[in-house]
């Protein structure tokens, strides 16, 4: 076993041990009411509270306390799965007609923050708008998750407190997407555009003030439909642009909680050394470093070249060198125990780039490149694009060095954030170093967004009809074991096709002061920001 691999395994085991040995969620303690939690934001809310118009944690995290979903991943459980979904605005739900109809029985007596009653009309309004139904009463300016709801044929409301989602085909995992932080219910009487500047939700907290570029403050919703919740009197999210100041603020105790996805392993170690009582929990961000290759253009329309790229990159070395050990290897979906669906390390063996001996992998890559006429002496010259942000550039620099060793001479082109997604969506690139975040840890949310033919976020333009059928098959599969097996096969196929070679799954070291209770990170950064159960033991 190589030293790198041994080190990697040791770190993984230590991290797992830390998770197991970490103090259990404080459910045994009696929660106290009162107090205000101070939290950080890395940037101001990008589109106000309009969660449905963005795909960024910078919006979801501070906007979630204002809203409710129909269902939500249990905030007190680390794992997100169909078993951990609990009702929010839906008191209960029922799958009918062999997973073709999903019936929600809604809570009565729920009020919007402006006093209007919540009814099934709001549910229909929200989901007709999201799926862009022909007769939808409103349209979002930007609708990034339309694909999530493409299987919904109709939303029917037989009465004020029942909503029926009629599906085109069975799709058990629709429930998981509805349980994501990205799926709040909007009020039918509020124009969607208004959510960019204010928030009328049903959630546990009401917006008190949003001082642009400075902070957003919430107060407890006294009319919240869950009796005795929330525990906290308020929440305050400070916009702190400078990373050093954010870290100093948490160290000084001015902030109680770090930002999801903010704390690297190194930063966590520094914080722990400075303030030993801080509680640090490693968890999966559900964000993957990956390589996008434009399959519409030579040379990456050639599978051999794509595979050579995938074989060339030593994932484990990248994790040590670039992520300082704060990531794990995995294929298309986050691996266990950080995620639910991903391939275990033993299953990765044999896939391009995951061999135990990096030299052998590089030899395969060189051979593939030689077959298409390139050698280290006569290299293939390409331009690798990446977003002009440190986490992207560091990864891209590592990749360039790896590619150089197999006969691919890449130059780095940094693209400003304003242009990055436009460049990727239009396909104005050859090869790119990219980061992909996925809302819920569910195959449907990932595949249809990032690998499906025609999806605007399928930056590689990978399109394989056979694989599309596999996507649909796993989506409809009702037997969990069979679905897991189908997903293993899909992930292997995606890596074998070098559709979007995954380099690692990033971990976050979520940091809170010990008086913060019941704020439990899940296996995705996007789904645990409701704050309904959080309390302060100060």
């Amino acid at each position: 076993m190589s030293r790198v691999r041994l080190a990697f395994l040791s770190i993984t085991i230590l991290a797992l041990a830390a998770m197991v040995l970490a103090p259990a969620p404080s459910q045994s303690q009696t929660p106290k009411s009162g107090g205000v939690l101070n939290m950080m934001l890395r940037e101001d809310l990008s589109q106000g509270f309009s969660i449905h118009e963005t795909s960024t944690i910078s919006t979801v995290w501070p906007a979630m306390p204002c809203f409710n979903n129909l269902v939500l991943f249990d905030p007190l459980k680390k794992t997100e799965s169909a078993e951990t979904v609990i009702g929010e605005l839906a008191e209960k739900w029922s799958w009918q007609d062999n997973y073709r109809n999903l019936v929600f029985f809604l809570r009565k007596g729920v009020k919007w923050h402006d006093g209007q009653p919540f009814t099934s009309k709001d549910v229909k309004f929200t989901f007709d708008m999201l799926r862009e139904a022909p007769d939808a009463p409103a349209k979002l300016r930007i609708n990034p998750r339309k694909d999530w709801y493409s299987n919904i044929e109709a939303v029917e409301t037989p009465d004020q407190y029942t909503a029926v989602f009629r599906l085109k085909r069975p799709q058990p995992s629709l429930l998981l997407m509805l349980a994501s932080g990205y799926t709040p219910v909007y009020a039918a009487h509020v124009p969607p555009a208004d959510y960019r500047s204010n928030c009328v939700g049903t959630g546990p907290f009401k917006v008190k003030e949003w001082r642009k570029g400075e902070y957003v403050e919430f107060v407890k919703n006294p009319d919240y439909f869950v009796k005795g919740r929330p525990y906290l009197d308020g929440l305050k999210y400070f916009v702190i642009l400078e990373r050093g100041t954010r870290q100093a603020a948490i160290q000084a105790g001015k902030l109680d909680v770090s930002f999801p996805g903010e704390t690297s392993k190194t930063a966590a170690e520094q914080l722990k050394k400075a303030v030993p009582q801080l509680v640090i929990t490693p968890f999966s961000q559900n964000v993957a470093d990956n390589i996008i290759m434009n399959m519409k253009k030579p040379p990456f329309d050639n599978l051999k070249v794509r595979l050579a790229v995938s074989h060339a990159i030593d994932r484990r070395a990248l994790i040590q060198a670039v992520q300082q050990g704060g990531a794990v290897v995995g294929a298309g979906l986050a691996p266990k125990p950080w995620g639910f669906w991903g391939l275990a390390e033993k299953d990765l063996v044999g896939l391009p780039g995951y061999g135990s001996k990096p030299a052998d992998e590089k030899a395969v890559a060189k051979k593939l490149m030689a077959e298409v006429g390139f050698t280290p002496q006569k290299p293939l010259k390409v331009e690798i694009v990446t977003r002009a942000i440190a986490v992207y550039v560091d990864m891209a620099s590592f990749v360039i060095n790896e590619l150089k060793q197999v006969g691919i001479e890449a130059t780095l082109k940094q693209i400003e954030t304003a242009q990055w997604h436009a460049t990727a969506t239009r396909g104005d690139y050859q090869i790119g170093a990219n980061l992909t975040g996925v809302g819920p840890d569910d195959p449907d949310a990932n595949y249809y967004e990032n690998y499906a033919c025609g999806s605007p976020r399928n930056y590689s333009f990978y399109c394989n009809e056979q694989v599309m059928k596999m996507f649909d098959a796993q989506s409809q599969e009702l037997d969990p074991k069979k679905r897991l097996a189908l997903n293993a096969a899909i992930q292997k196929k995606l890596e074998a096709d070098a559709a979007r070679p995954i380099l690692d799954w990033k971990l976050d070291y979520f940091t809170v002061w010990p008086h913060v209770k019941n704020l439990i990170p899940h296996q995705s950064i996007y789904n645990f920001g409701r704050m309904q159960e959080v309390w302060s033991d100060k």
Binding site: N38, E43, D44, S46, Q47, G48, E53, T54, S55, T56, S58, T59, R141, I142, N143, P144, A193, R196, S197, R211, K212, G213, E214, Y215, F238, V239, I240, L241, E242, G244, T245, A248, A249, Q251, A252, G253, K254, L255, A274, E416, T417, A418, Q419, W420, H421, A422, T425, R426, P456, R457
Partner: protein, 317 residues
């Protein structure tokens, strides 16, 4: 004097007009626009949706129409709407202005309080140990970027006292003591750098004046050192110092980006950078115009002060 001021005001207006064209053009030359950023937060771009949003925001219109519209709005006191926040730009800009002006004024005050006396002492005690020490002190100030000094202050406070200044703006009516603490630390960090410049200018200017005949005459008449230096020499040496102070203050209005960021102060410069990154044209254009107006007014004020400090300076009319 009146004619001179009027002439300067006309020149100022022409300068502002030129500035408006430069700002407007440069912003449009930068790659990408607000719609690209909005899509960036969603992770994809749809050309048809992009076109609809551009139309909604009015940035699909010809540039000259957009420019004239902006000028017309400014003349009527309407600064337009922020693209990012969908709110009147003035509502967003208004709370930022006093923060930056206060920080710049305090920094300048510190710079003057430190820079002028040390410059005078350094000149009077030329080539003594004290002079060398003060010159090292000033050189250190020039060498240390204010943001670095700010970060060192923050890290020092958190390491030794487990304390840092407030994370959001505290108004003086809310808590005067906390307000003062919030502004004193960044003002010291910025003021120290500026004081170094003022100290060096004061020193060199004073040394030059001290060699003038009228200073020798004053000494010969038996006047005390204090009278010679503070009444005769310093007053005449202050002209370049006042110029530097004026320039520094004006520079600080737009140049406090990193200090405001490190100390998390919601000022003009920090917000301006965010607005540029978001291509929020109404905010950027109006903030830059505000900074330009402050710079022009500072220059005008400095010119007026020349006449007060040196009676030989007369304005044509």
């Amino acid at each position: 004097m009146k004619t001179y001021v009027l002439q300067r005001l006309v020149i100022a207006l022409l300068t502002l007009l030129g500035m408006s064209m430069v700002i407007f053009t440069l912003l449009r030359l930068a790659p990408g626009d607000i719609v690209d950023i909005l899509f960036s937060t969603a992770g994809y771009v749809s050309p048809s949706e992009k076109q609809a949003i551009m139309k909604e925001l009015g940035i699909d219109r010809p540039y000259w129409v957009q420019y004239l519209d902006w000028i017309r709005q400014m003349l009527t006191g309407d600064l337009g709407k922020s693209y990012r926040y969908d709110q009147p730009a003035w509502q967003i800009i208004r709370p930022l202005v006093p923060v930056t002006i206060e920080l710049a004024a305090l920094s300048t005050l510190f710079a003057v309080l430190i820079g002028v006396p040390t410059g005078v002492i350094s000149a009077v005690r030329q080539d003594t140990t004290l002079d060398y020490l003060l010159r090292v002190f000033s050189l250190a100030g020039l060498s240390m970027p204010a943001f670095w000094l700010g970060m060192v202050i923050i890290l020092g406070l958190v390491t030794w006292f487990a304390w840092i200044p407030p994370l959001s703006y505290v108004s003086p009516t809310q808590d005067l003591k906390l307000h003062a603490v919030q502004f004193l630390l960044p003002a010291l960090a910025v003021g120290y750098r500026s004081s170094a410049l003022i100290m060096r200018i004061t020193r060199s200017s004073l040394l030059e004046v001290m060699r003038e005949d009228y200073i020798r005459t004053a000494w010969a008449k038996g006047q005390t050192g204090r009278v010679v230096i503070w009444r005769h020499a310093l007053k005449n040496a202050l002209l370049p110092v006042v110029t530097v102070i004026g320039i520094e203050f004006a520079f600080l209005i737009g140049g406090l980006v990193v200090t405001e960021t490190v100390f998390n102060l919601p000022g003009v410069a920090r917000f301006l950078v965010q607005a540029i990154l978001w291509r929020d044209y109404p905010i950027v254009q109006n903030l830059v115009m505000f900074i330009a107006i402050v710079v022009i007014l500072c220059n005008l004020l400095v010119d007026m002060l020349y006449g007060v400090l040196d009676p030989r300076v007369r304005y044509g009319g």
